[in-house]
Amino acid sequence: MKILVTIKQVPDTATQVKIAADGKTIDTTGITWIVSPYDEFAVEEALRIKEKRGQGEVVAVSLGPDRVKEALRSSLAMGCDRAIHLNDAAWSAADTLATAKALAAVIKQEAPQLVLCGRQAIDDDMGAVTAQLAELLGWPCAYWIMEAAIDADGKTVRAARQVEGGLEVFDLPLPAVLAAQKGLNEPRYPTLKGIMGAKKKEIKDVKAADLGIASEPSQLSIVGLEALPPRPAGRIIQGDVPTAVKELVRALREDAKAI
């Protein structure tokens, strides 16, 4: 079974982000880049499915500039078999839909039986690409999955998605798209052997023209980035516990009107 995993390279959460001079993007100097954590759940699940079935291929795909190769290499080190890098200036301001279109074009070429994505990338937090891929491909889709199991003949995947108040379990005929939620699995660390072996694996560069995609403006564009308005200075309530608690309750009720 061929499984394709989409990954995105994002700034590490702990990294300070600063707005660049254009006011629309972030200043990327000094940023530590990582694979978006939800995508690691997707990679891990793909590898587990392959290992359980004893055969198959896991292909990692990412869209972005040259630095994205590092993210793909890290997926290869985890155990993906090969990688595809969608690297074209035409995609520099891609919104979720443009990204989904590019990924859908690769998926049509690769024809995997299953596509696994993270539930959202932790930079822009849109959480849209999975559903948009499913729409463009005409495939069924399940979001925020906590379990996934392929049936013996590789015809359907049984997925449990997290919803308010519980889990809903569905059988999705393959091919299908799934968005991984935390809790699906515990991603492995790339082993040193995996890391050393990754340099022998292929990362194929793909341009928009290779996919026959015409350049079109993004449907959603960024007008500007702004810093958060500062929160008003807080107050540490002094005194012994009973006194401080009484004062807190009073302040919440009377000053903040929060209760």
């Binding site: 702990a14 932790i122 937090d125 959603l220 564009s221 960024i222 516990v241 009720r253 903040a256």
Partner: protein
């Protein structure tokens, strides 16, 4: 009606719209007075529910009532809603952030070939264009976005927008557009209910209590739940507590958990790691209780108490009980 602001209805799976719809409708009405329409995909809408939508300010309800919509499947919803949108040409499509809406709306946007602003926290009209503001980079920055063409599709973060005041007696015209029920590829197997804590849902609650590493173990969350019952709050946890296995992942607040924006957030033994702040930073009032005066959470807290949470929580429960009995 062309140019309407659609509000996709999130319901309680029992025929009534959820309270968060008052916020969605309220914001739509602020942007487009008199042009607000509720679009409801459900297997069964109640009369009371339809009345409620009218009282909140929907001028018209487009009711797509069919068993095929439940349980929810994005393929089915997107096909039906897109057909309707093609006939109606709405200016905007709004939905609250819930598990199904976030998927459905993204899929719908792709089907319509338009942009999507997910998890929006602010809207403004710039001439005849809508501009949405949404948190990005773990809530460290805000991004203002706009659409190349309408309908402008967006989801709205709960508890952020001012809810519409219900106007008793105000009614919406209810229409049931004809519908070719699309087929579903995926088959429902079962629903597994979570053991209910009897407390509100994390993302919907107006008050949220969170317990971090300072809780010391899973057995101690009962004191937070007791406090939660007294003040009607949801009880969540930090990543540290979830990763330690003290609470199931569905209770995690933060970047790899739930994003919340309650009126009141109370953090106990929560240090305030960036991952956690990403999920609760837009709370209106933040209270932090931690033994460590250097805990980063105090930097964003409106009120802080530097003390042992195991002394503070019972005292707080007692005080709130007294207050609310009055």
């Amino acid at each position: 009606m062309p140019n309407a602001f659609w509000c996709i209805v999130e319901d309680d799976r029992n025929g009534s719209p959820k309270k968060v719809m008052a916020e969605v409708i309220g914001e739509a009405a602020r942007l487009a007075p008199g042009r607000v329409e509720a679009v409801w995909l459900t297997d069964k809408a109640s009369e009371a529910g339809l009345k409620q939508l009218g009282e909140w300010g929907a001028a018209r309800v487009l009711l797509l009532e069919n068993a095929v919509f439940v349980p929810y499947r994005s393929e089915v919803w997107a096909a039906a809603a897109a057909d309707l949108a093609a006939k109606e040409s709405p200016a905007a499509i709004f939905a609250p952030v819930t598990s199904r809406q976030r998927e459905f709306v993204a899929r719908l946007a792709a089907r319509l070939g338009v942009g999507l602003s997910a998890d929006s926290v602010r809207f403004a009209m710039d001439g005849d264009k809508l501009v949405a503001t949404r948190p990005v980079y773990a809530g460290k920055l805000l991004s203002r976005v706009t659409w190349a063409k309408s309908p402008w599709v967006a989801t709205l973060r709960p508890n952020v927008f001012r809810p519409a005041d219900a106007q008793p007696g105000k009614t919406a015209s209810v229409e049931r557009p004809s519908l070719t029920a699309p087929g579903a590829q995926m088959k429902f197997v079962e629903r597994r209910e979570e053991v209910s804590t009897g407390l509100p849902e994390l993302t919907e609650a107006e008050t949220v209590i969170s317990g971090g590493r300072g809780m010391k173990g899973p057995e101690n969350y009962v004191i937070l739940e007791e406090l939660g019952r007294v003040i009607g709050a949801a009880v969540g946890a930090s990543r540290a507590a979830v990763d330690a296995g003290w609470r199931p992942h569905r209770f995690q607040i933060g970047q790899t958990g739930r994003t919340i924006s309650p009126k009141l957030y109370l953090g106990f033994g929560v240090s305030g790691a960036i991952q956690h702040l990403a999920g609760m930073r837009t709370s209106k009032v933040i209270v932090a209780v931690n033994k460590d005066p250097e805990a980063p959470i105090f930097k964003i807290a409106d009120f802080g108490i530097v003390a042992d949470l195991f002394e503070v929580v019972p005292e707080l429960t007692k005080e709130f009980k007294k207050l609310l009995e009055k």
